[in-house]
Amino acid sequence: MIGSWLANIASLLLVPFLLAGVILRVKSLWSGRKGPPLLQPAYDLLRLLRKSPVYSVTTTPVFRIAPWVFLTTALGSAAIVPLVGSDPLVSFSFDFVWFAYVWTLGRVAMVLAALDTGSAFEGMGSARELTFATLLEPVLFLVGAALCLRSGTHSLYPALVFDAGGAVLLRICAVLALFIMLQVETARMPVDDPSTHLELTMVHEVMVLDHSGPDLAAIGFGSMLKLFAGTALIATLCNPWAGQGTLLAAAVQLALSLLVAVSLGTVEALVARLKLRLVPEYISVALGLGGVALLLGAWGAAAGP
């Protein structure tokens, strides 16, 4: 019990940087560059933490508090995800509802901070962010409910590890739907380009233009935590040894998480970003996959394991 707690907390402090670093490295390799060190995101955060923030005269305390609300909610959602493929920090019935609403709280905090600056660009980014997130919201419920119906349980972790390695079709649909969700939520191509320099085309990045110093570090770490939570969901679904609590399960989990990061980086390096008008259609693919997963889950539960 204590071992799994420690493993979860240790992974929370280390793996997010590694995943972000891997994505950066993969993108660099695809474009023929050597790329930064794997832990470069961690060095960036340390550098930001040493700086002092500057606030716009337009802003209110909302702007100063929001980044830390975002970070807290990211931690709050990561707590229920089986980060190392075994018991999560917390698990209770219908915890995936909590997961979704906590993410929404963090998003609302970021949007309010963006609107607090009075900048047109930040307003634009926050409108896009909320619109996409709105369409995406049902995906997690569809996938979660599909897994719950199939397994006859009510919380995320047992539903994820139930019949590990079985129900392949359901798992494929769920993984693909979650992958798209992850791309949208963590501002990845083809939905959003995290490294663009044109404010007009940004979604997520434009909302944090005015944050600086430790606040920016909090946002950066929060985003990486969300990335980690999402990859851990996918990795647990794919991990045939998930739920056993062994070292092997944790190793496979880490490898699979890194694999998800590699795929994110690869897609990002090879695919052009979608027109903004097409993003809702891309999200509807995830909705469709979630719907198929739900059908498979209900049907599978009725047919018996």
Partner: protein, 661 residues
């Protein structure tokens, strides 16, 4: 129960009526307000004292009052359901009256007499005592009508404006359409039972009969109109935008809950429902939630937005009730418990946070004389307390942790996602409803972030709007009470559940209802931890950031930034509205310059109309034109007259034959 307690409870009626009479008669506004407040407080204490045993799970209070015909005997009976509604309706009306004193002060300063207004607020309280306790259909209708007319008169406080009179008239007509349907249902019941007593109605309704279904639909429509369910909601945003803030708050949060009360009352009388009834309630609830929230995302009037949000929230509550219906018809006790608990708790939670939001919007109106989001901005610096209150109300309304809205929605989710339907198709449909609820929650978060961000954050958008002072203490007191309740029932949901439990025990919830509620306990702990950490980081960053360096907002290289360049409300929701454009039709009025060197400035105005209202008038208009054209042709072409006559005969024949078997 001894009769002294029950008569003490009914004593609140004369107290309130006498208070109303004195309030009208008094010259001084201050004295009228004081009389109204004192009588309402006395009535609230009498009622709470009377119904307290019922709230603790005791026996129902009953009092029979002989009365000359045509009424016969009037039975007053406060059971757990009535006690639950009475317990918060009267105190909340009291808080609304406190709010009215501060909100109406500018009117009083200009010499307006407030006596009738306070008297009407007393009458609203009278209607609650009648509706929630009486067992006689005629007296029930009397209470219903008192509430409707009093609310109408309260709405048209600013009756000099034609727009407000129209909104009031619209409300009056709609509520009376609902009344007709309710009267029809009661007449039907009377014809079957030759009694006006609810108990007799219940005896009839419990038996399966062909009229049971139609009565369910009639009553459902009447109560849905009262609570502004989609598609019967069109009067609501108008009325809420026109009324003074405390009236909007009371209407949305408290008065219109009478519709849901009526629905629950007849559910209890009716006994075990049929399955299709459950699906109907669930479908109506889901549609109301979805359409209500879609309209919130495009509004530019803050109070209209909150009005549509009422439709959304009664929809969510009805989803819970529908779930309870389904559980009852499938005989799954855990679903019955979860469904009715979630629904009723949401009714209560909505009353808390919706009043809060309206009160904060009222503070904005009082300070700026507008609630048009496109003209406001940066109010958080001028009205920090109202800003905080609006944020709390909004977050609770979007069911975000750690506030009370999440608790009831979580309970409803736990029923929808529990997989305890009796067939895979049933489970699929319930999960589909949960997915719609997720969408509703996310759109609601968008609307609230948009409303709060535009009104309170950034820079003022319109320099012609003068910002007055922060709300006076009489407005802040109700605001703080409601904000504290929203937080309290989010962190300690057990208290809310305890309030509903005696009502739940009237439904067939079996014995394991306690254990299906266990997830709420875990949720409460999660919320408490989150709230604690948020408080900690919030205070820390607020403290640390006070001395930080200041600069201007980064203009992305552009240096001549002006407040007019901020993102507007319509641009914020443009993408969202485009995705759902079938339901949020945009009306554009534009004059865009076409020449190369335009001589006059162009202009563009967009406005999102209510699709239901628009389509109803479209359809009505088209049908009217069709009938007019057809009837004009009849005298000119005898064969048209012949065809019309033949058609009528055929219709009558088909009806006669169709009714026979």
């Amino acid at each position: 129960m001894d009769s002294s307690v029950s008569s003490a409870f009914l004593l609140s009626l004369p107290v309130l009526v006498v208070g109303a009479a004195i309030a009208v008669a008094l010259r001084s506004n201050r004295a009228s307000a004081a009389v109204s407040l004192v009588t309402q407080a006395v009535a609230a204490v009498l009622v709470l004292g009377g119904v307290w045993p019922c709230l603790r799970g005791g026996k129902a209070l009953q009092l029979v009052w002989p009365w000359p015909p045509p009424i016969g005997t009037i039975t007053f009976r406060v059971d757990a359901l009535g006690a639950f509604f009475l317990a918060w309706s009267l105190p909340m009306t009291f808080l609304g009256t406190v709010y009215a004193i501060g909100y109406l002060r500018p009117y009083f300063a200009r010499g307006r007499h407030g006596g009738p207004h306070f008297a009407l607020l007393n009458l609203i309280a009278v209607s609650f005592v009648l509706i929630y306790s009486v067992q006689n259909a005629l007296v029930f209708l009397l209470g219903w009508e008192i509430a409707a007319v009093a609310a109408w008169l309260l709405v048209i406080w600013d009756y000099r404006s034609q727009k407000i009179r129209f909104a009031g008239f619209n409300y009056l007509v709609s509520t009376h359409v609902g009344l007709f349907v309710l009267v029809a249902a009661f007449m039907l019941l009377h014809s079957k039972t030759s009694s006006m007593d609810f108990h007799a109605f219940g005896v009839f309704l419990e038996r399966p009969s062909p009229t049971r279904g139609s009565l369910f639909l009639l009553l459902g429509i009447a109560f849905a109109l009262k609570s502004a369910f989609f598609p019967f909601h069109t009067w609501l945003p108008r009325a809420h935008a026109a009324a003074p803030a405390h009236v909007s708050a009371l209407m949305s949060g408290v008065i219109h809950k009478a519709g849901l009360f009526g629905f629950l009352r007849f559910t209890l009388l009716m006994g075990r429902p049929e399955e299709w009834m459950g699906w109907t309630v669930l479908a109506f609830g889901t549609l109301s939630a979805l359409f209500g929230v879609l309209y919130t995302s495009t509004q530019r009037d803050l109070k209209r937005l909150l009005g549509y949000s009422s439709t959304e929230n009664v929809g969510i509550a009805a989803m819970g009730l529908g779930l309870g219906y389904l559980g009852w018809s499938w005989e799954v006790p855990s679903l019955v418990a979860i469904g009715f608990l979630g629904g009723m708790l949401h009714i209560f939670n909505h009353a808390i946070f919706k009043c809060l939001s309206f009160y904060a919007a009222g503070a904005v109106y009082r300070a700026t004389h507008t609630v048009d989001m496109e003209r406001l901005g940066g109010l958080a610096k001028r009205l920090p307390l109202s800003a905080g209150a609006f944020l709390v109300g909004g977050l609770a309304g979007s069911a975000l942790p750690p506030f009370n809205g999440l608790v009831s929605e979580f309970i409803i989710y736990s029923g929808l996602l529990s997989g305890s339907a009796d067939s895979p198709e049933g489970n699929l449909t319930l999960v589909g409803a949960a997915a719609v609820l997720a969408l509703v929650g996310a759109i609601s978060a968008l609307s609230i972030a948009r409303a709060f961000g535009l009104v309170f954050l950034g820079n003022p958008r319109d320099p012609s709007v003068e910002v007055g002072e922060e709300a006076p203490p009489s407005m802040l007191l109700p605001i703080f009470c409601h904000a504290a309740l929203a937080l309290w029932f989010g962190l300690a949901p057990a208290f809310g559940i305890e309030l509903v439990r005696p009502v739940l025990e009237q439904f067939p919830i079996g014995s394991q209802a306690g254990q299906v509620l266990a997830p709420v306990d875990s949720l409460a702990w999660a919320s408490r931890c989150l709230a604690g950490s948020l408080l900690l980081v919030g205070l820390l960053r607020w403290w640390q950031g006070r001395a930080a360096r200041r600069s201007v907002t980064w203009g992305c290289g552009y240096t001549a930034v002006s407040p007019r360049m901020q993102y507007t409300g319509s641009s914020f929701s443009e993408q969202m509205a485009r995705i759902f454009d079938a339901f949020t039709p945009a009306l554009r009025r534009e004059r865009i310059a076409t020449e190369i060197f335009p001589q006059s400035p162009g202009q563009l105005a967009t406005h999102h109309a209510d699709a239901v209202e628009l389509r109803i008038f479209e359809v009505l208009g088209r049908a009217e034109a069709l009938v007019t054209r057809a009837s004009q042709r009849i005298p000119a072409h005898p064969r048209f007259a012949f065809a019309a006559g033949l058609l009528t005969l055929l219709l009558i024949g088909v009806l006669a034959l169709g009714v026979r078997p």
